[in-house]
């Protein structure tokens, strides 16, 4: 039980810190509904690629940096401390699509796509959710019919982040019309510029518009774009989801820890409701801030333990769900408390990527329960898979 890093790890930290300090963009990321955000996100990805920092967790044979678990931890800690940009439109390519290709694609698919993702040439998006199949992914209905060496896809996807900026999509379709639930699905790479695709941005309560609805009208996709086998899509998709819950979380935790410190500092310089003293002199505000600082600190410790466990077992355990659950609650509590700290100043909307963008961050936190399964489903997973409580099979 220790918190020591080796000399090599410390040197690696210095290297990361120096590079980030010199290369992190100084201007804020454009808001999600701004088309410039594509250039910004790809540009930052390209900058990382150019200096060998792209795909830090990807194996070296696929062009990644292939960092060890602890090096990844160090990277993410420094990334957050340097206030490096949100990954934005590159998220799916780097963290979902790419890792799935690595796990399940054939060489030709890997050779074509992986370098493009790493280089920041392309944006990927995810096409899993549908209007009638939100949390219940196995209920999806978008159908694909085999026609010669093509799939003809017709249907609708929703909550597809950055579809309006994307070049490719990891698309999950029902290729066997007779099938139900997890059977008869196929995972395919869809060219977002193909004829028959219509993308509609969905405005969100935080003034974003990165969530999209995607309509497919007889979209033709070469069968060579299928990853895994036709009908084996569920297993391919599940390899994606498992990776989703394992990586990069430490950056978010450290970032949130910095947010609470900034909020405490804000309270030091603001005036209490009585107009007579600093807000932080008000015991109510001080202890609520203290309690949140304690909670995020605890989450950091829990993530350290989960990482330590992963290093020994080699596979991320179900603890990921537990940490995600705690994190979502916390992010909401933190930004909500910020609204209280800012008082009347919180009447003004400020974009979350801009300095002091607490109202934007608060509004964004409403989405915290929706990424990778709602709170409700996370709690089911913990209850059933971690604690072994019985499932209601009805």
């Amino acid at each position: 039980m220790d918190l020591d890093f080796t000399v090599e790890e410390q040197e690696f930290r210095d290297e990361v810190r120096t590079w980030l300090c010199e290369h992190v963009p100084t201007q804020p990321r454009p808001h999600g509904d701004d088309p410039d955000s594509r250039d910004f996100d790809l540009g930052w990805q390209r900058a990382q690629y150019d200096d060998g920092w792209a795909g830090i967790s990807w194996p070296a044979e696929y062009g990644g940096r292939g960092l060890s678990t602890l090096q990844q931890l160090i990277w993410y800690e420094e990334y957050a401390r340097a206030d490096a940009p949100w990954i934005g439109a590159c998220f799916v390519g780097i963290n979902h699509g790419g890792p799935t290709l690595i796990a399940r694609a054939i060489d030709a698919q890997k050779t074509f796509h992986l370098p493009r993702i790493l280089r920041g040439d392309v944006v990927w998006c995810q096409g899993f959710s549908e209007p009638e199949a939100g949390s219940d992914l196995a209920n999806l209905k978008t159908r694909a019919v085999v026609d010669g060496n093509e799939l003809i896809v017709t249907g609708q996807k929703i909550w597809t982040s950055f579809a309006h900026l994307a070049d490719y999509q990891e698309l999950l379709v029902r290729s066997d019309p007779e099938s139900s639930r997890h059977m008869g699905l196929t995972w395919v790479i869809c060219d977002m510029h193909a004829p028959g695709i219509t993308v509609r941005q969905i405005p969100t309560l935080d003034r974003g518009a990165e969530f999209c609805e995607v309509l497919y009208e007889e979209v033709r996709i070469p069968i060579s774009n299928v990853v895994g086998d036709i009908g084996d899509g569920w297993s391919v998709a599940m390899s994606t989801l498992t990776l989703e819950r394992g990586t990069g979380f430490m950056a978010e935790i450290i970032h949130t820890k910095q947010m609470i410190e900034a909020l405490i500092d804000e309270a030091r310089h603001r005036t209490a409701p009585d107009g007579r003293r600093p807000l932080l002199a008000d015991d109510d505000y001080a202890r609520r801030l203290g309690a949140l600082k304690a909670e995020i600190t605890v989450l950091r410790s829990a993530a350290y333990r989960a990482i330590s466990r992963n290093r020994r077992t080699g596979t991320p355990g179900p603890e990921g769900s537990m940490l995600r659950l705690a994190y979502g609650d916390l992010l909401q509590a933190l930004t909500r408390l910020a609204m209280d700290v800012f008082g009347h100043d919180a009447l003004a909307y400020i974009d979350r990527f801009r300095n002091g963008g607490w109202t934007g961050a608060w509004l964004r936190s409403f989405a915290a329960g929706m990424g990778g399964g709602t709170f409700e489903i996370q709690r089911n997973i913990i209850g059933e898979r971690v604690l072994g409580l019985p499932r209601d099979r009805s």
Partner: protein, 338 residues
């Protein structure tokens, strides 16, 4: 003792609700007010004023309808349920203040909708009297020629033209909002709070709107939970959703009950009325916040969009919680001297 509404009060609510449903339906699809440069369509505003909404509780000698606070809360509850725009709160309070200050002419100008009033909540220490010196957070700035400044010592109407209000881009993009600092601006009318109790009056009306928001949020959440099917069943069969809705309903019910109690206590100047009003505002603000958040979450990803209505309740709860007095100040008032 009867804390239920009378038939006449229910009728007021029904009239307001059906007017709002027809002329100011709960809009969704945008995060900022888009259609018009005005916070509320001037024609609709005049219709509302013509229906006597700003004059409900004003005495007949001041040109009002002659009802009281109990009837006014029925209006403000519906305005909250319908997340309506428009400077109703400062209008009603401004007319009462003008009447209390003896200026019946001004009272009826405001009540007729001609003279529009914004609401200025002081930030930190303020001086409110025949002149006003304060930093002000102002809502309903659109078209206002007066600003009502109100704290627990006194209330005053000051000319908006002398306030130099800097507009801000508001979270609740359906309500025009701004900020200013005024220094010894002369009041057009003012009254001591001990005399006119505009502050407690305002707390109760704002609480009524917040209670309405809380109620409407439960209603849309319950509606969605009963319809939305996942895993082959409506999501409302799940205890996690059902119990969430139950807690929201209990909270909304309590919020409006306390608004009723406080309305009667302030109207009849019962002992402890100021504390009852503070509790009404505190609890209704909390209920509006928690229920609107709950409605968003129960709607899943759809709740995060501005295509479903829950976000409107989140915005409005956020705004109302910052009018007149907020959580810490209200709770300090509940405890009193310490």
């Amino acid at each position: 003792m009867d804390l239920m509404t009378t038939g006449e009060q229910d009728e007021i609510a029904g009239t307001v609700a059906s007017f709002l449903a027809n002329r100011l339906p709960v809009a969704s699809g945008g995060t900022t007010q888009a259609v018009s440069p005005f916070e509320i369509d001037p024609g609709v505003w005049q219709e509302c004023a013509g229906l006597g909404w700003l004059a409900l509780g004003l005495s007949e000698e001041a040109g009002g309808v002659g009802y009281g606070l109990a009837e006014e809360i029925m209006l403000f509850r519906e305005l909250g349920r319908g997340v309506a725009p428009g400077p109703f709160l400062p209008g009603v309070l401004g007319a009462h203040l003008a009447a209390a200050a003896g200026d019946f002419g001004l009272a009826s100008e405001i009540a007729s909708g001609e003279t529009r009033v914004a609401l200025g909540s002081p930030i930190g220490l303020a001086s409110v009297g025949d002149t006003v010196t304060a930093e002000l957070s102002v809502v309903h700035t659109d078209g206002a020629t007066l600003v009502l400044v109100c704290d627990d010592t006194a209330s005053a109407l000051v000319p908006a033209g002398e306030c130099d209000i800097e507009p801000i881009d508001p979270v609740d993009g359906f309500i025009t909002t701004g900020r200013t600092r005024v220094d010894a601006v002369a009041s057009v009318a003012w009254a001591d709070n001990a005399k006119a109790q505009i502050f407690e009056h305002g707390l109760v009306l704002a609480a009524a709107s917040a209670a309405g928001v809380a109620e409407a949020a439960v209603a849309v959440a319950v509606g969605y939970a009963g319809l939305r099917v996942q895993f082959g069943k409506p999501i409302g069969v799940n205890q996690a959703i059902k119990h969430w809705c139950a807690d929201m309903a209990v909270r909304a019910d309590g919020a409006f009950a306390q608004v009723c109690y406080a309305a009667v206590a302030v109207r009849d100047r019962l002992p402890g009325a100021a504390v009852e009003a503070a509790i009404a505002k505190y609890f209704a603000d909390e209920a509006a916040r928690l229920n609107s958040e709950g409605a968003v979450q129960i709607h899943g990803a759809m709740g995060f969009t501005s295509q479903a209505t829950p976000y409107r309740f989140v915005y409005r709860a956020h705004l109302l919680a910052r009018c007149l007095a907020s959580r810490a100040g209200l709770l300090d008032r509940v405890i009193g001297e310490r």
